[in-house]
Amino acid sequence: MRAYAEGLVLAAISLVAIWGAWQVPAASPGDTWAGIVPFAASVALLGLSILLLVGASRQPAGPAPTSSDSAVTLQIVGLFIIALIYQQSFRWFGYLLPTAIVAPIVLYIFGVRSWIGLAVSMVICPLVFHVIFFVLLGVFPPYGEVFDLLSWIQG
């Protein structure tokens, strides 16, 4: 089942890539087509996905995933969703506020259960990262379009 899924996902990716390469306009006279390498690579990928599917049809069925496997996968998907929200919230709220919220959440996910530690992380994490990257290295911090804690602190 897993081998079939891998083959099908790869086939889907290669079909999208072939379609994308096909959208590249034709070359002007005396030039080479800009889509030649993407097209060749995506066709080769389609060939490999067919090989994977053929291989999957010959394999005996593997063991079904256990409930603990599914739970772990769900946790990682959950962390990925947190990561997506975290990076998006930089655009809305700048760096400090999202980091102050996400730091204790991620620490909790990784097993930190000390409430004092989690509370301290809300202050320490944004502060330390802000000082290292935005003060010492001089990187310009992302500005929050909705509310920016840094601007509020700086008055």
Partner: protein, 504 residues
């Protein structure tokens, strides 16, 4: 000869010396921490190097890479958990030695052998790199494309469990690199109308995502599955010191391992794990005490460790002379060169020769630095690692990944790329796809495309140009031969497995 003034110049620069020693210590800690890799550390530190001089940045990351390879042996010997894939070969004899109270002795053999192997590799690099660069200058686009082709195929097919998945990973790396404007005609490719995508996918966020965030996801998975805690194997009273009589039989294995590692290091993509296992196998075949190997032979630690570290220097040769990174660390270092506007390839030895030799000098001093720290302090490093609370470490790495990706160009799109690359990296790991092939192919793709299209223009669109030129044909055959060789190896393994089952 250029190396001597370069060495003198580096030795007289206290800041650079400090950076080398710091990098040696950082690399050792990172390499010895199970789950953390030198690639992850280098990727995470990559944006910081924007603010350093090119030599300082390159030397710092290069020495972390070298020291990280050695650091893997600390975890392999003391914790029975290889810190890197290459140190799995060291674990075979290193852990039994540690269990019998000879952890300190095994660590000292690993340190001396690593230093011997690494120095041998660097000396061969210094001697040979100029010749390779001179030859590379004479290669035309068809020959260069054929080398790229061979690199793609070797990287995709030789490393990893599955040839099909390895090659698929390499192709996906090429496809991701194609996103953005075509450098020749400025036509948009895979941009789907997005302005952000028209600038292409950045190397730095991709690296941070795949190596750092992807590793955090993988560690979360490991932590949920793993049980029990890691304990250090301590040395008995006489198990800490190493005498010359004890190391003497290890020396030929270390020197042979150095040659094997250096030879394999020049070939892109093969990497230190393959070198370590070949050296271990060859050492056991030639050993006077093969029955002891696997049960705690010091020679069984020396052979793989020397080979593992000897890969480091020569793997820089294809990177510096042809722009083809031989390893993931090489791919990241290529990013540093590009960040600082230095064009890697044969012309590098005409434009920035001094920088290159100073980098080699820093590498050699880095070897001595991690040798000294490791010889006298490996067990202290192990104790420090056991004190690091991983449930705090990985969340911190998680958050560093975001701010590091943002710092590279001050771009929020880069942060999004990093996040998606992290999840994709974890999926690739989980489904046994080849991350190294993906990343190295991503880096190589632009150069390969350029030379391919230049070749087609040279021949008015005829692909026969690659077959008509003997050097190009040779490399194409090498690529196809690599796949055939690997398929033969897999078939042989299957036959052996079936035979074994039949006998049972």
């Amino acid at each position: 000869m250029e190396i001597f003034p370069a060495l003198l110049s580096v030795i007289t620069d206290p800041m650079l010396l400090f950076a080398i020693v710091l990098a040696a210590a950082v690399g050792m800690i990172v390499g010895a921490t199970p789950g953390l890799t030198a690639s992850a550390a280098i990727a995470m530190l990559l944006p910081i190097t924007f603010y350093m001089s090119p030599l300082f940045a390159l030397a710092f990351l290069y020495v972390i890479g070298k020291s990280g390879r050695y650091g893997g042996s600390i975890a392999a010997i003391l914790f029975n958990t290889p810190g890197t894939a290459a140190s799995a070969a060291t674990q075979i004899d290193g852990y039994p030695l540690a269990k019998s109270g000879k952890a300190g002795k095994a660590m000292k053999v690993a340190t001396i052998s690593s230093v011997i192997g690494d120095l041998m590799g660097d000396i061969m690099l210094v001697v040979g790199v100029g010749f390779i660069a001179a030859i590379a200058l004479k290669l035309g686009p068809p020959e260069t494309f054929a080398i790229y082709f061979a690199a793609f195929v070797v990287i995709g097919s030789v490393i990893g469990k599955s040839i099909v998945k390895g090659l698929a990973s390499a192709l996906m790396g090429i496809l991701v690199a194609m996103v953005g404007l075509d450098p020749i005609s400025s036509e948009e490719r895979y941009t789907f109308g997005s302005f952000d995508l028209s600038n292409g996918i950045g190397l730095v966020p991709l690296m941070i995502g795949v190596f750092v965030l992807g590793e955090v996801f993988a560690q979360l998975e490991e932590r949920r599955k793993a049980s029990g805690e890691t304990k250090e194997n301590e040395s008995s009273a006489d198990g800490n010191d190493l005498t010359w009589e004890e190391y003497k039989p290890c020396l030929p294995h270390a020197v042979r391992g150095g040659f094997i590692g250096a030879g394999i290091g020049v070939l892109p993509g093969l990497g230190s794990a393959i070198a370590a296992f070949i050296s271990y196998g060859e050492g056991k075949r030639r050993a006077t005490n093969p029955e002891q190997w696997g049960k705690g032979a010091l020679e069984g630690v020396a052979a793989p460790e020397a080979a593992n570290n000897a890969v480091s220097g020569p793997s820089m040769a294809p990177l510096l002379t042809l722009g083809i990174p031989g390893s993931t660390i090489g791919a990241i270092l290529l990013g540093v060169f590009l960040i600082h506007g230095i064009q890697v390839g044969p012309t590098l030895f005409l434009t920035d020769k001094e920088l290159v030799y100073k980098l080699f000098a820093c590498g050699m001093l880095g070897i001595i630095a991690y040798g000294v720290i490791g010889y006298f302090g490996a067990t202290q490093v192990a104790r420090l690692i056991l004190k690091i609370p991983t449930n705090v470490l990985y969340p911190l790495i998680f958050m560093t990944a975001f701010v590091a990706a943002y710092s590279a160009r001050g771009s929020m799109f880069d942060v999004t790329v990093m996040t998606c690359a992290g999840f994709a990296g974890w999926l690739m790991r989980k489904f046994d796809f080849n991350i190294a092939a993906f990343v190295i192919s991503f880096v190589l793709a632009k150069g390969a495309e350029e030379t391919f299209r230049q070749s087609l223009l040279m021949s008015d669109g005829g692909a026969l140009i690659f077959v008509e030129r003997p050097i190009a044909l040779g490399f194409l055959i090498l690529g196809v031969g690599a796949i055939a060789f690997r398929i033969r190896g897999i078939m042989k393994e299957r036959k052996l497995a079936q035979g074994g089952l039949g006998d049972a």
